[in-house]
Symmetry: C2
Subunit: 307 residues, 2 copies
């Protein structure tokens, strides 16, 4: 029996939010439809942060209303606070994702709150979301290292993850915000999370490929028992801490590796690659995903041969 691994597509939110070129709402909706058609069961489609902060995602409500009636996947959106949650509820969403950091400095710079303040605020947000019948994922950023502080306390990260889960988040997505993780550390962090009372099924890994080790870290996570991984189509997005550097792990790379290893993802790689080509064209730029480039290049070579 083949084992299932869940891939959560975050390209339309985490990917696009780092792209300068504003993508028309129609193109975002088309991308998401194609991702559903490729077989995704979980897609993070937008964010309800203040439109002024992330103009790319200012059309969150429009995207969601255009998706009404699209079946087959759970659509998730990022919510920073109670106000974001209200907008998400108005939009008829079924899943929300909250976020905070495991390092004090990154949390302060990102959400202008201490970790203690974030935990207090999220208790309200998650509590309300769960009471309203929403599913909740909670991101914890900088678990594997902080661009400001360097090493991050594993004990602290475990405490935060456990607190978020106790508040009602069904899954904690451990973020490697600037790709600082290494496979040995991943094994240690996952073991510490498990020892700290978090079931492996409640954990996801959200790895960035900034330093090139995203898939190696995913492999270490698989070996440690994690079965949910976030990824961004064609490696959409980038790293706000290093211009030109890679951001999220690329979905095609991840799905291809999982397929080749015999895991079952339910995602059609060829359809996924077509969706990657679609968003690359919509953005009018080359995207960094390895398999994405390989797929485009292999097709170009085939076409040159038959021309």
């Amino acid at each position: 029996m083949t084992e299932h691994v869940r891939v959560v597509e975050v390209g339309p939110r985490d990917g696009l939010q780092n792209e300068r070129e504003i993508v028309p709402t129609d193109a975002k909706v088309e991308l998401i439809r194609r991702l559903v058609a490729a077989g995704y069961e979980d897609i993070e489609v937008t964010s309800f942060v203040r439109p002024r902060w992330i103009p790319q995602l200012a059309d969150a409500s429009d995207v969601l209303s255009a998706l009404r009636g699209v079946q087959g996947a759970t659509f998730w959106a990022l919510v920073p606070n109670e106000r974001g949650l209200e907008r998400a509820l108005d939009a008829g969403l079924s899943g929300v994702a909250t976020f905070m950091s495991a390092s004090e400095t990154h949390n302060l710079k990102n959400v202008n709150r201490t970790i203690r303040e974030s935990l207090g605020a999220l208790r309200e947000v998650i509590g309300t979301a769960v009471a309203e019948g929403l599913r909740v994922r909670a991101y914890v950023s900088t678990v594997f290292g902080c661009p400001y502080e360097g090493a991050v306390s594993v004990e602290r990260a475990v405490e935060i993850a456990a607190a978020l889960r106790e508040m009602g988040a069904e899954q904690i997505s451990l973020g490697d915000t600037t790709g600082m993780a290494n496979p040995r550390q991943v094994g240690e962090v996952i073991a510490a999370m498990h020892a700290g009372g978090l079931p492996l099924s409640s954990l996801a890994m959200h790895m960035h490929d900034t330093q090139g080790a995203a898939l190696a870290n995913v492999l270490a996570g698989l070996q440690a028992g994690v079965r949910t991984f976030d990824a961004s189509i064609a490696g959409l997005g980038g790293c706000p801490y290093a211009p030109g550097a890679s951001g999220n792990a690329a979905s095609e790379d991840l799905v291809n590796m999982l397929n080749n290893m015999g895991y079952q993802t339910g995602i059609d790689l060829d359809r996924l690659c077509s969706a990657g080509e679609f968003i690359a064209e919509a953005l009018g730029r080359e995207l960094p995903g390895r398999y994405h480039k390989y797929w485009l290049g292999a097709r170009a070579r085939r076409e040159a041969r038959t021309a």
Copy 2:
């Protein structure tokens, strides 16, 4: 005690041979000097194939004579046959690398010989090289999959590797020519090699990042006991089978991951990154290495902040 992992730099040969822009001999020599200064003990510096085949490396003898007197590293060169070996001996080389494929079609297309013919010819080349006091590495390409045939017989690959070792090659470098390997397969192949009589210390892995899994495959190799990995600075080179796609695993990505995992490589990452910047400028193009881009981007950001 920290464990040593040997990284063999193949950028000046395997990387450059796939770059269209001809790099002046001086720049190649400067690159190699910088790689030695960064701490490499093994550098594949050029190739003695017919100059007409690979114009980029037509200056092989000049590169080697300019490197005479440079201490601290073993310089390796690719030799296809007895004639190449003679040129390498004349150039005063201390190490040569031979090559053949584990799949019949790739071997025919690449060297115009059957596998049996290649083994016969290499028996002569390796025998002569060893008799002349040279060290020999032997590449076996397409071990993890063939762009023409698909799956490749592990038994066949083991037989070839064992034969090459028996001929006198001190190390067999298992090539993943178009990045088709996956971590599960790597574990199986290495175990089969070991069971087939090849000591783990006689094995190297030469992984390509075409499909994005190079470092994950390296991790699987480390876990299986391999301690030598080939890599190309800044991901120099590309994939001849898919225009625009990635080629060799990038050295900076590999060294950074190994450092972070607590392995000792003897290579100074910052000097390595500087050497990568040097060759990117010499080529006048952006190179694909992740850590290379991250390092350049992080510096640009620092400079923008202090400006």
